[in-house]
Structures are given as C-alpha cells and as structure tokens.
Amino acid sequence: MFNNMIIGRYMPGNSWIHRLDARVKLMLSVFFVLAVFIANSVVGYIIAIVFAALVIQLTGLGVRVFAKGLQPLMWLMLFTVGLQILFIKTGHVWFQWGFLSITSDGLTNGVAIFVRFTLIIFFSTVLTLTTPPLGVADALEVLMQPLKVIKVPVDDLALMVSIALRFVPTLMDEAETIMNAQRARGVEFNEGSIVKRVRAYVPLLIPLFVNAIKRAIELGDAMEARGYRGGTQRTKYRVLTWHTQDTVAMLGFLAFALVLILVRVMGW
C-alpha cells in the first residue's frame, strides 16, 4: 500500500546532491520554501523554476520520479487553485455566474499558487529522495543543538528518532504478519461498511500495540545492559563532515536567493 508513495522515500545513488551533507540539504530545503515566497513576478518564478530544474538534474534521478511524487497531492493542489480562481473578485472580469467569477487576478493567482506548490514539493522531495532517513535524523540532531539552551532534551529526542526509524521496517513486517494471521482466522480487512472496516483493524492494532510495549521493555533492558545512562557524556560514532561541495551548495543557494530579492526590489 506504500508502493506508490514517493514522499519520504529514499532512492540510493551517488550523484553530486546525494553526496552533499544532510545538514546542508535540510537547511536549504527550509530556506527554499521561504525563498519561493520572495518571487512575485514572472521573471522571479522563471528563475526559481530554472534553479529547481538544475537541482533535479543534479540528483540524476530524472524528472519522472519527482512528477510521481506530485500525484498524491494533485487533488489538494487542484482544489486550492480552483478556489483561488473562482473566488478572487479583483481585476478584469472575464466570466461571472452568481457569486462565482473568473477574473484576470484570480487566474494569475491560481497559476502562481500552482507553480509554488509544485516547486516546494519538488524541492522537498530532493531532500528525502537523496538522503537516507538516518542522515535526516543526524542533520536534525545537529541543527537542533541550539535548542539545548532552552532546556530541550536534544540528545534524547535524537535517540528516539533514530530508534523509531530503525523500528519502522520491523514493525511493518510485524503488522503484515499479524494481518495475515488474522485473515487466516477469517477477519476481513477492506470490506464492508466504514464501521465494519474500522472494527476489523482492532485485532491488528491491539496485538501490534502490546508487542510494541514488549519490544520497548526488552530494548530498554538491552540498552541498560550495554551501559546506556542518558544522553549526556556520550561520544558519537557517526559524524557529519563538511566538504567544499557543501560550501559551494550554500553559496549557490545564496546567489539564487539574492537574485530573487533583486528581482523583487527592482520590480522586474
């Protein structure tokens, strides 16, 4: 059921983007979302599209992979764009029917929103497609370090995230085993009314939950036996290293952002 989901999926590779530091990719993904909102003219959008296309080209994965990631969100996008087009009343009116109207402003706004949506989704899939989940977790840990000042337990959170990620495939396997075991006993998933379907999931969820607690107890024992005593004073086996290419990526993005700002200020 998760086969067509491209969001959050990692595709191994060895492109320039794949080799970038996860911290850089995470930061730039966030900054890109902000940068997209700087653009408000045709020139600005073209620059942003060219930049995103360049980055996608550098991942070496092909546009088709990214377009597939758009599919599940297509309806949401069309819905928002539709609302924009039908309900904006300023500008030159082309069509009017009751309280619905299609105006020049509505159309441009709709198109702008569509472009923004697409750009943001494309760019944030770049991060997840080219970075293994662990890399994302490591990057998050490093970037959250400043939060220690306001007493956020960053080390504990990081450990929780990495354990959670490590158990995702294990629990998926287990869910499938339980599902099959319950099917063998005559439970029918995905059949009947909504209420019936929801109730069919109870024999799956309860064993899954109980087992997760058992696992947690055993994992806790194993961690303690191996000398775990909280997040403080631990050394790290896994380290992130900053290369020249990471600086290049940062500078490249900075240049892109500056151009966008320039375009906006000059009103091109």
Binding site: R166, R215, R234
Partner: protein, 280 residues
C-alpha cells in the same frame, strides 16, 4: 583458576508473585570457565542472568563479580565487567546499522571515535560480520543479528559474556553457527572470557565446561556435561530434554540391547554402534 563470580544465599521474588524466582542460591564460577545453565521454563534462569548485571536487584544475599559487589554504587563498573546477549535478535538491536549497533556500548562509555572505528572492525571480524558493516537490521537474518549482538558486547571488552537464551529464536543453522562462534571466541580468548550460557539447547550445553541444572529457583545439580547428561532419568524428572544419544540408548535398552552406562556424545555413540555391530 581464580573465582570470578560468587553468589551467596541469593534470593529474588518478582513483585506481585508469591513464589520466589530464586531461592538461596549459592554458586561460584571461575575465571575463564564456560558454564551452561539449563532448566525448564520458569526455573529462574533469566532472573539469574539479570541479577548478575543489576538489571534486577537481589532481595537478599550477595553477588560479587571480580571482587566488585553488585550494588547500585558499582552499577557502571559491573556493566563494564558483564556483557549480555538476549533472546530476541530484533529487540536488542539499538543502532540503525550494524556498525552503529556495535558502537552503541562504546558511545555510552565516552570512548573516542578513532578507537571506536578500529574496534568496530576488530569485533566484527571476530564474529565474521565484516561484510555487513553498513547493513540495516531489517536486512539481516536472526543468526546474523545475534552475531552482531555478540560483537557489540565484545566491543566493551567485558570479562563475562552472558548468553541469555541467545540461540532460542534461531533456526538450526543459525544456532550451530552461533555456538561455533562462541567456541572459537572461547578458544581465542581463553581465561580472558568467562561464558555463561543460559539455554534449552542440549548441544549448546554440551559444549560447556560445566553444566548447572536449575529447577524452581534452586540449583539441583552441577557437573561436567558428561556427568549431567549420563543420568537421563534425573533430567526427565526436572522437565528437561535429553541428548539424542541418550534417547537412542534408552530406546535400545527397551528392546533388550545392553548399552554402555557412561555418557556418550553423538560421535561416541556412532563409534560404539560400529563396534558392537562388527563384533557380531
């Protein structure tokens, strides 16, 4: 050989439980010894393992490991001395990859990264998992995960390795591989490593220097595997499995064939069968 682990009058009762899991246990284990502990389910084997590591605190009695008393003040010293491999390969795998898991114990002890990198390679070589350094647990077999678990214990260089039913969830091949690995380790490290294996597996127990039989929280028998396994009647009485060679002997005796009374391994039994047939 010097004494390494000493238990004096150790008792433990689980909360909300009337019957004690361990009753007045007195036991010494020598440095470099390989001890197998057998007993049916609920005989107190796992409780024993957890007491040694202070995962559980004894109600009464004293436990000393390498001269260090097992009590809260010495908690971290004790955990440096004792390493433990548990039953379920999935539930004790902390790291996201093999290397991370092996490094976990060292990270907890604040060991610097250069040493960690070196030692991860070293211990993975000992358990023959060097090719799997970057693998995720989901892509390993149960036996491979248990080998990683052994490696991660060895990485902290403990004096005692406890295998708490570590082969129970493995297939026969994984089980054999694991016993072979432990045997090899024991041969390599000799007196530097004391192994306590808690098990249902007769083959595993037969590899040990000494077998301890536990029933209802008390130690009822202790001796060399040959001595313990020779008396099949006592084993059956305490709800334990009997080695295949002993089972065969019993069946032959039932059909009126005179069988040797001393314990024989599989190889010994085969040799005896050849001999008795060729004599006819």
């Amino acid at each position: 050989m010097s004494e390494l682990i000493k238990l004096v009058n150790v008792s433990y009762t689980y909360p909300n439980n009337a019957v004690p899991a361990l009753k007045n246990l007195n036991l010494t284990i020598n440095q470099g010894e390989w001890v197998a502990m057998i007993g049916h389910n609920g005989s107190g084997k796992s409780t024993f393992a957890k007491l040694l590591n202070y995962l559980l605190a004894a109600d009464s009695g004293d436990i000393t490991i390498a001269g260090v008393k097992v009590e809260p003040d010495n908690l971290w010293t004790i955990r440096d001395l004792v390493g433990m491999v548990f039953q379920n390969p999935d539930n004790q795998f902390v790291g996201a990859t093999v290397a991370d898991d092996v490094a976990f114990g060292m990270e907890n002890r604040g060991i610097d990264r250069a040493t960690m990198l070196e030692r991860v390679q070293e211990v993975l070589k000992l358990v023959k998992m060097t090719d799997f350094v970057d693998r995720e647990p989901a892509r390993l077999s149960g036996g491979q995960k248990q080998r990683v678990a052994i490696a991660s214990v060895l990485a902290i260089q403990p004096q005692v390795l406890i295998l708490d039913e570590a082969t129970a969830m493995l297939d026969p091949q994984g089980r054999r591989e694991m016993i072979a690995i432990v045997r090899e380790l024991k041969a390599r490290m000799g007196a530097d490593l004391t192994v306590i294996s808690i098990t249902h597996d007769i083959e595993e127990a037969a590899s040990a220097d000494r077998v301890l039989v536990l029933d209802d929280g008390s130690l009822i028998n202790s001796g060399r595997p040959a001595e313990i396994f020779a008396d099949a009647a006592i084993l059956r009485e305490h709800g334990l499995a009997v080695p295949f060679a002993e089972e065969l002997k019993a069946q032959l005796a039932q059909r009126g064939i005179a069988v040797p009374t001393e314990y024989l391994t599989m190889e010994g039994m085969v040799a005896w069968l050849w001999q008795s047939i060729s004599k006819k």
